[in-house]
Subunit: 221 residues, 2 copies
DNA sequence: CGGTGTGAAGAGCTTCACAGCA
DNA sequence: TGCTGTGAAGCTCTTCACACCG
């Protein structure tokens, strides 16, 4: 299939075809009237725009189950990410290969960041260690952090943090599940609450908010 | 701190105080003019609305690194989720405890779902096994699925699927990182592309889209 | 013809600003 | 007086509908 129409793409992505055409149009006119979009060319243009044509070295700190799962995750390589190093505080882990990469001790953190020109760090440590790791990463020159630890990180301006909460998607499913079961439903407003819900419980915690608003910065403990 | 103002909550959550008050108002009038919101009462009301006061039994299928990480994740219990069972296809895993719960073999899947009244399933299997597991879960009565496998699941109407792509947040960070580095920047449009980007490559794959639009249903391989 | 690119209309969400109540 | 609750204004994002072109 060398070419594809906005209608087909829209159906595959689950959106309206007009929206898709309009979005594409912001990148330029990559389609051909009466024909559609050349798949290969389109993929290249979008990849370039999203930064997938670049190589991004990342380090993963905290090689427990989650860190190991991330290290083994095939999706990274295909999106232009290269796992430059795995770092763990446990000396017993040092040298042990995970996903073919030997784990290095936290002592080496600054050197690793520097040697590899790493600007993106992934934190998969327990909650207690996350803030400290974060500070060391930032001090060493990392400017984007993906946080899997269940804690809110505070970072200086200019550093982006995105927090991944493995249970939030479950919570959304449960929310809809509850709706299926009963009630008459007050519809949209509640979704908005998700972002705010935690603040009541936390009532503190400088946010370190991500660049977009689509991931709640604060969630209940 | 028994009471809190919309201004404080808004600052903590990183939103505008008017928005927060408006959102809360959809749930009812739980604040007191001139005073603020009673924290305990507010937390309860929001918890109830989000379904956190219910107990949701879930099963996790696929006990590799990721499945184990999920089983150990503390955030579930505090949000009303109870891991009813861990299921894996590897007979060698059967009986082995993970996070204090013995792993059961896939053969038991239907019985487990039925016995525990499970309506939410988590898939953490390799991509190849996911669709088949999904079908068995649905056939057994599961109506909400959280999919960590890097594949698009197709499901019948009435079943909600949410796909968690561990690399998508990294991709968003890289996108912004790229922007920091250079360019003049065409701003908003590109974010929208994230949801559609994969469709060009996939150009197939019935979507099984989640209840909200905020998680892309299709992503590049 | 068929399908893109896009101005204009429409819908939904956010913010303002202030009446009203403890 | 202080802060909530909310109509109305403003803004952004989505959808429509069609001119235009291969």
């Amino acid at each position: 299939m060398p070419t594809v129409s906005s209608e087909e793409l829209a159906a595959a992505a689950g959106v309206n075809s007009a929206k898709l055409r309009k979005d594409f149009s912001y990148l330029g006119s990559y389609g051909t009237r009466g024909v559609g979009y050349d798949v290969e060319y389109l993929v290249y243009q979008i990849s370039r725009e999203l930064g997938l044509t670049q190589d991004w070295p990342v380090v993963i700190v905290g090689i427990g189950n989650l860190g190991a799962a991330l290290a083994n995750y095939g999706g990274f390589a295909s999106r232009g990410f290269r796992v430059a190093a795995l770092i763990d505080a446990d000396p017993a882990m040092a040298g042990k290969p995970v996903a073919g990469i030997p784990v290095q001790h936290t002592d080496e953190l600054e050197k690793i960041i520097d040697d590899n020109g790493v600007s993106i760090g992934v934190i998969a440590t327990p909650a207690g260690a996350a803030q400290q790791v974060c500070e060391r990463l930032v001090a060493a020159g990392v400017t984007s952090i993906l946080n899997f630890a269940p804690t809110v990180l505070s970072v200086p301006d200019g550093v982006d943090v995105r927090k991944v909460d493995l249970s939030i998607e479950l919570q959304i499913l449960a929310f809809h599940e509850q709706r299926k079961a009963g009630e008459e439903a007050e519809a949209q407003a509640d979704a908005a609450l998700e972002a705010e819900a935690g603040a009541a419980a936390a009532a503190a915690g400088k946010s370190g908010k991500g660049p977009d608003g689509d991931v709640p910065a604060v969630m209940p403990a």
